[in-house]
Subunit: 108 residues, 2 copies
DNA sequence: TAACCGATATCGGTTAATGATATCGCAAAC
DNA sequence: GTTTGCGATATCATTAACCGATATCGGTTA
């Protein structure tokens, strides 16, 4: 029996996904399956049914732009952050800092 | 026309609520309406339909314990963190630190 | 004992995550 | 040039969660 990650952390993680994606897309072009792997390294199994609609949404909202590229015979949709996305990321950073700092600040 | 907070931050906030609540309940006894005000100070209007079920859930899961108290003629359900809740909070802290630090670390 | 009121509880409607499945499109094989 | 393989992407029905409007609770006071 596999112990699922704490639901609290799962919730946190889901709420954090868009920001996490924007961050990586600000570093280098990313694609769906890669993001999924990256999230797994953090211990969270996020469904493709979540990843892809999220990417589409971020593109539709103008935060990401898409370039299709062929890699070893497969089509990949790479996403890069836009200027608008960068602004949103910066704004989110500040707010997250404010929200999280307090909670993280001290142990028991 | 009131500009709603960015949906990305809203998502983050919703995912963060349980942890935020646990944190405050680790400092002092809290109650629903107070939490709602506290969250508003951060710029987010969270519905009672979210707050109260969340508190019930945290209690049911053993993270909070409840004491009903009468204040100026009104019944209030105060919640305090349990030992189990403290453990969950500490665990969450570590994980959040790991997840957030990277994203916050640098500007553009 | 009736009316008040802050706080809490609840309900139907709506939106979002899920993960299993189907599809896409290029390339290598024959 | 047609077929097959495959990683990546798209989609769909189901399930769960937030929403906010509304109802209810239960001491207190007059």
């Amino acid at each position: 029996m596999i112990m699922k990650p704490d639901s609290m952390l799962k919730d946190f993680f889901l709420g954090f996904i868009k920001i996490h994606i924007l961050y990586h897309a600000s570093k280098e072009p990313i694609y769906g399956a890669e993001i999924q792997k990256e999230l797994r390294r953090h211990g969270y199994q996020i469904s493709p049914g979540t990843i892809y609609p999220t990417l589409h949404r971020l593109k539709k909202d103008g935060y990401l732009e898409q370039q299709s590229r062929v890699v070893s015979g497969k089509v990949r949709n790479y996403y890069t952050i836009t200027e608008r996305g960068r602004d949103a990321l910066d704004k989110s950073r500040n707010k997250i800092q404010e929200l999280v700092t307090e909670v993280l600040e001290d142990g028991r």
